[in-house]
């Protein structure tokens, strides 16, 4: 598969703080990439930089053969880049259905509101929220809002989907459900980059792991190699995890 997304020497700083440092990375179509790293490593910033929320201070981002470094978020979205937010961002007064309809309506040219709503129903059903279609988003539980984020991202018919900690705050049954959905999406042909702290999920789902630490890419490769990488163990996984993993492997 050819590369769908590539970052070449991407940096981003916030006044004095270097949140991303010369990151180069290529992602092939069909991959499920796990993006891991300690808190404040720059994972969310990487997503924001690709999506145009906080444009790169240096370097270039290419998506599907097009330079998107300077694109606005709405332009990136229309090209097929979707993301869920670490802190869920619903349209609180809108029903669950209308939340998803917005994505269908604005990401694809020439959509009517009626068509967008019909479209939205399918995606709500896919994430198991069809029973809540007419409920205002503000009344949904956190687990439901996370799934609503996912449905919204899917309604944009993305080529590449960033999932920013979709499992944070969910119980294990809910995590199971979410993981199954992610697998299904990947099988449907969407390239996925997931930021995830639950290593169990990462090892379960991802075909590749990328590790950020202090804004720098410190490891990139097959899951079983990355989790044995001393630099990764040092920066993120910790000795305990490595021993446990070593005992099993």
């Amino acid at each position: 598969m050819p590369e769908i997304l590539s970052l070449a020497g991407v940096s981003r700083h916030f006044s004095g703080l270097q949140a991303l440092r010369d990151v180069s990375l290529g992602i092939a179509g069909g991959e499920i990439v796990g993006l891991i790293g300690p808190n404040g490593a720059g994972k969310t910033t990487l997503v924001n930089t690709v999506c145009g929320v906080t444009p790169a201070s240096a370097g270039t981002v290419t998506f599907a053969g097009r330079d998107i470094t300077r694109l606005k978020p709405y332009q990136a979205a229309r090209l097929g880049l979707a993301r869920t937010f670490q802190i869920v961002q619903p349209f609180a007064e809108f029903s669950a259905l209308d939340n998803v309809a917005t994505a269908a309506l604005f990401s694809q040219p020439g959509q009517s509101l009626k068509a967008a709503r019909e479209n939205a129903r399918e995606h709500l059903a896919f994430v198991g929220l069809d029973g809540q279609a007419d409920q205002p988003a503000s009344t949904l539980t956190l687990a439901m809002r996370k799934r609503l984020e996912l449905a919204k991202a899917l309604a944009m018919k993305p080529k590449l989907l960033f999932l920013d900690e979709v499992n944070a705050g969910l119980n294990s049954a809910e995590v199971e459900k979410a993981t199954a959905l992610i697998r299904q999406l990947a099988a449907g042909g969407i390239t996925i980059v997931m930021i995830e702290h639950l290593m169990k999920v990462v090892l379960n789902v991802c075909t590749r792991i990328v590790v950020l630490h202090n804004g720098e890419l410190i490891a990139d490769g097959a899951p079983r190699d990355v989790v044995r990488n001393p630099a990764v163990i040092d920066a993120y996984l910790g000795q305990q995890y490595a021993q446990r993993h070593g005992a099993h492997g």
Binding site: K72, Y74, A77, F94, S107, L113
Partner: protein
């Protein structure tokens, strides 16, 4: 069309019958009522639909008054001058909106407020064109009787109101209206689903300006004389906000009712308590907001709920 849009259309139709029952005084009041309703409906696009607290109404009004006034002194007939005002106002405000609406909350409020000050100063200093602080005399638009004049300006303002209402109803039922509601609720998320928020905000600002500008033009032709401190009065910015709060933020029918109620209060209080009228008016507004925080439109649901409770 929703039920409240139909109710709004009926209300406007009833208002159009005013000349059948009233004389010159009623017509003057009716003209002001239409003007206030134009303010409130227009403000509601940015303040209600989009959720940005705008104080720019006086800027649009004064700009429209002077644009039409200056064109008329140059010999342009009133209808043509109004069309030119409409287009200029729409375009200029759209461009400004793209810039100003980058600011949020209080910052935007203050920026929109300073727009009024800036325009007033510009008009004050462009003495050749506007007469500056001396004011501008505007040629008579018609030379009919006093009552004929009153009738003419009432219907002129009514037509602007009808156009504004039609525009607002169309917007609220459209993709644009849906997008504005998205931006109000969560601008970050709106961007991320592919909504061009800058474009939408800019259109909203343009639409909220153009008919206020035309109303300003008609006002100028109606009163024959304008000066900067009259038409760039900050009160023109504050009133529509109060009207919208009285009527119910976001609802077109609500804000028009709010405008009528406000005018009623203003007239009654002004005529009977002329010495303390601003204070009393302020007190009334505060009381209304305390006891009806969601505006008059919430009365219906409240009464309905109470009835349901009894049953």
């Amino acid at each position: 069309m929703t039920r409240s849009s139909i109710a709004l259309a009926v209300l406007l139709a009833v208002l159009a019958l005013l000349p059948l029952v009233g004389g010159a005084y009623a017509l003057r009041l009716g003209t002001i009522a239409c003007m206030y309703a134009v303010f409130a409906l227009s403000w509601n696009i940015v303040g209600g639909f989009l959720g940005y607290p705008s104080f720019a109404t006086a800027a649009f009004f004064g700009f429209g008054a002077y644009a039409t006034g200056v064109l008329m002194t140059l010999g342009v007939p009133l209808p043509l001058a109004l069309v030119a005002t409409l287009i200029t106002c729409l375009l200029a405000a759209s461009v400004l909106g793209a810039v100003l609406l980058r600011l949020r909350g209080h910052y935007f409020a203050i920026a929109s407020l300073s727009l009024v000050e800036v325009l007033r100063e510009v008009v004050n200093n462009a003495t050749d064109l506007t007469g500056g602080g001396m004011g501008l005399n505007i040629p008579l638009a018609s030379n009919s009787s006093v009552l004929g004049d009153a009738l003419f300006f009432f219907y002129a303002m009514w037509i602007v109101l009808a156009l504004t209402a039609a525009m607002v109803i169309a917007v609220s039922a459209s993709k644009l209206g849906f997008g504005l509601a998205c931006i109000r609720q969560n601008e970050t998320a709106a961007n991320m689903v592919g909504l061009n928020t800058t474009l939408y905000k800019s259109i909203a600002f343009g639409l909220s300006a153009c008919f206020v500008g035309v109303a300003g033009g008609i006002y100028a032709a109606w009163v024959h004389y304008i000066d900067p401190s009259d038409v760039f009065d900050i009160l023109y910015s504050v009133k529509p906000i109060v009207m919208a709060l009285i009527g119910g933020l976001g609802s077109p029918l609500g804000v028009v009712c709010g405008a009528l109620v406000y005018l009623g209060l203003e007239e009654v209080v002004w005529r009977n308590y002329i010495q303390i009228h601003s204070g009393l008016l302020g007190l009334l507004v505060v009381l209304l907001l305390l006891f009806l925080p969601h505006g008059l439109v919430s009365l219906r649901t409240r009464l309905f709920r109470r009835k349901a409770g009894h049953a």
